[in-house]
């Protein structure tokens, strides 16, 4: 029951060193083009993880990071900023960074639904898409500030999701799985056949403009040509930080406790005054809002979206990321997203086989390590506090 541990110097140093290693690793993965080298880097990483687990280094690192959460969070932001600086003119890398950040946001939203409240949502990509299409529609009106576009995207997603609330509240288990599954398919078909939203061909999304500055143009700072993606990556990073903070706070509050209780045992929850309907509504709505929020930004970054971006397969991918990372573990989510997004992009050899390999891996994971890469830890209500 020790409260706020004083940060040991070695712990701080260890955290910094780890952040440096991660930056170097990500840089290497992004820079290296030769497939052979990439394979080498990957194998090296896996080898390093295995060896360091053997000698207890992994647990030392995890402990140092866990000891001082504020520092670890700041370091994670620093790592991202460092990558942005290193790749300031590389559209491709910056776009991958955006994808990682925004997919993580969406999966964090799903985590509130599934990880905390136990509501399975097979239409994550649909709500992501509602946000995206909202951004597409709103981008025709240049006077709307970007931040408002994002929030409206989230709100519309939450409203669309509320259509499903009644069946979701009344059903449970597989019956409830069908509700969102049916919606995911319905949504995709709807987009495919609905001409006013571009049909199967998709629709353009105008870039953000703020005070007359168009986000779609490259920026020149001094003698450096900075990619137009940089502001977008920064915006994505801010969004992830805000959502991460929010979800973390939910977890470490009575709200998170109530959601956990609703997930684990509805009968006993109700015998201790917990309003099951209320918490399910809250969790489902927030999750969809967050998905819509990130979808709106993602669509603005892509500049062009089509129904193919928001298929049932994408919903499945979001859920698998959640499962791979470890349901309820926020860092696990981000790491799993990075792996799922980066690997097939960089490892072109497997590009064609990517779905095959990826679904096989998830399948094996569920059978042999159902808790995911980083299992959720027992709740502590204050950072650094532990048993």
């Amino acid at each position: 029951m020790s409260t706020n541990t004083t940060n040991s110097l070695s712990g701080v140093l260890c955290s910094f060193a780890f952040a440096g290693v991660i930056t170097a690793l990500m840089t290497a993965i992004f820079i290296v083009e030769s497939q052979l080298l990439i394979a080498g880097v990957l194998l090296g990483t896996i080898g390093a993880i295995v060896i360091s687990s053997k000698f207890g280094v992994t647990s030392i690192i995890l402990k140092s990071l866990g000891e001082n959460e504020n520092l670890s969070n700041a370091l994670a932001v620093l790592v991202t900023l460092a990558l942005i600086v290193i790749f300031y003119d590389d559209h491709y890398v910056l776009f991958i960074l955006c994808t990682i950040l925004l997919y993580s946001v969406t999966v964090l939203g799903l985590n509130i639904q599934l990880g905390y409240a136990g509501l399975i949502n097979f239409s994550g990509a649909a709500f992501f898409g509602v946000g995206g299409y909202t951004a597409a529609v709103l981008s025709q009106y240049h006077s709307i500030p970007p931040i408002l576009t994002l929030v409206i995207g989230g709100i519309i997603a939450a409203i669309v999701g509320s259509i499903l609330l009644l069946p979701i509240l009344r059903t449970s288990g597989h019956y409830s799985a069908l509700v969102t599954l049916a919606f995911a398919l319905l949504f995709k078909v709807f987009l495919d056949v609905n001409d006013s939203l571009g049909g199967a061909q998709g629709v353009d999304v105008g870039s953000f403009t703020l005070f007359g500055w168009d986000f779609g143009n490259d920026i020149t700072i001094g003698s450096y040509d900075v990619s137009f993606y940089v502001p977008y990556v920064l915006a994505s990073l801010v969004m992830l930080c805000v959502v991460f903070f929010f979800v973390r706070r939910i977890e470490r509050s009575w709200i998170g406790l109530c959601l956990d209780s609703v997930r684990i045992d509805e009968v006993s929850s109700s015998c201790f005054g917990i309003n099951i309907v209320r918490w399910k509504i809250v969790a489902f709505t927030i999750g969809n809002f967050v998905a819509g929020l990130s979808g709106a930004l993602y669509a603005s970054i892509l500049g062009y979206i089509s129904p193919a971006n928001f298929s049932f397969g994408d919903s499945l991918m979001f859920l698998s990321i959640l499962l791979l990372g470890g349901i309820g573990n926020l860092w696990g989510t981000i790491i799993a997203t990075a792996i799922v997004v980066v690997l097939p992009e960089k490892f072109q050899v497997i590009q064609e086989y990517r779905l095959f390999i990826y679904s096989t891996l998830v399948l094996l994971m569920i059978v042999y390590r159902p808790v995911g890469l980083l299992p959720r830890k027992t709740r502590t209500y204050r950072p650094g506090e532990s048993s």
Partner: protein, 260 residues
């Protein structure tokens, strides 16, 4: 009757064709420990479930503390001051001891987003308060357990889980506590210990009324003021422990096996 806390009249609960409770009338006085005994399937747990709002009774009324709480939701019943444990332990095994106990403390916790997420002042006060209360009760039950407040429940032995369930039920300072076979899965010695602990709760149990379902007649003898014997969903007999075991009808229905 003036100091009766809970008054049930004509409670009946049908599951399809089966009458798990029929025309059950009983009352519990303030500060009393009432024992419920009866053979398996005689409707004791169903009685708890009906009063605590999990099942809606087919007919009958439940008056608690002067208010009609028949067919109210479990949430409302909890807020009126009735708390319970379950026959088959229903703890959240993957959560910590503290988390489980705080679920029982739900009444005192704020649920708003402002106080939980943004300004944490109120949350922190509630947290400190909850931790103090939980430590207080757990220390009374078992001081060692109080040191394991942030351990996961699934790592704890059965008796500690029972203690946590009781702590979860007690922390909201209920007026009436339902204990459904707290001794299930424990040895005689452990049961005795646990009952002693409950009766020695001090400030948390002052004026508390308890309804105890128990098969272990020694426990009934030691802790109850009065007993009600259930049989086939009906009240077979009501009286003190010595009256109960002296009654021939009870002996036939319930203790029959032992007498033979």
């Amino acid at each position: 009757m003036s100091d009766s806390l809970l008054q049930c009249t004509g409670l009946t609960m049908h599951f399809g064709g089966l009458a798990a409770l029929s025309d059950m009338s009983l009352h519990i006085n303030k500060g009393e420990v009432l024992g419920l005994v009866g053979p398996n399937g005689s409707g004791k747990t169903t009685f708890f479930n009906v009063v605590s709002g999990i099942y809606k009774p087919t007919c009958g009324t439940v008056i608690f503390d002067g208010k009609d709480i028949t067919s109210e939701s479990p949430q409302a019943v909890y807020n009126h001051g009735i708390s319970r444990t379950f026959q088959l332990s229903r703890l959240c095994l993957e959560l910590s001891v503290f988390d489980n106990i705080m679920i029982g403390n739900h009444k005192r916790l704020s649920r708003g987003f402002i106080s939980n997420i943004f300004s944490r002042r109120k949350f922190n006060e509630e947290y400190e308060d909850g931790l103090k209360r939980a430590t207080h009760i757990l220390t009374a039950l078992n001081p060692e357990l109080a040191n394991r407040m942030f351990d996961v429940v699934s790592e704890l032995p059965m008796i500690d889980r029972r203690r946590i369930e009781i702590c979860r039920a007690l922390i909201s300072k209920p007026k009436l506590l339902f204990l459904d076979e707290p001794s299930a899965g424990m040895t005689h010695e452990e049961t005795r210990q646990l009952m002693d602990e409950i009766l020695n709760m001090g400030s948390y149990a002052k004026g508390l009324s308890i309804v105890l379902i128990e098969h272990e007649m020694n426990v009934i003898k030691r802790v109850t003021d009065r007993c009600v014997v259930f049989n086939f969903g009906q009240k077979l007999f009501e009286g003190t422990y010595s009256e109960v075991i002296a009654d021939p009808a009870v002996q036939e229905a319930y203790l029959g096996k032992e007498v033979e």
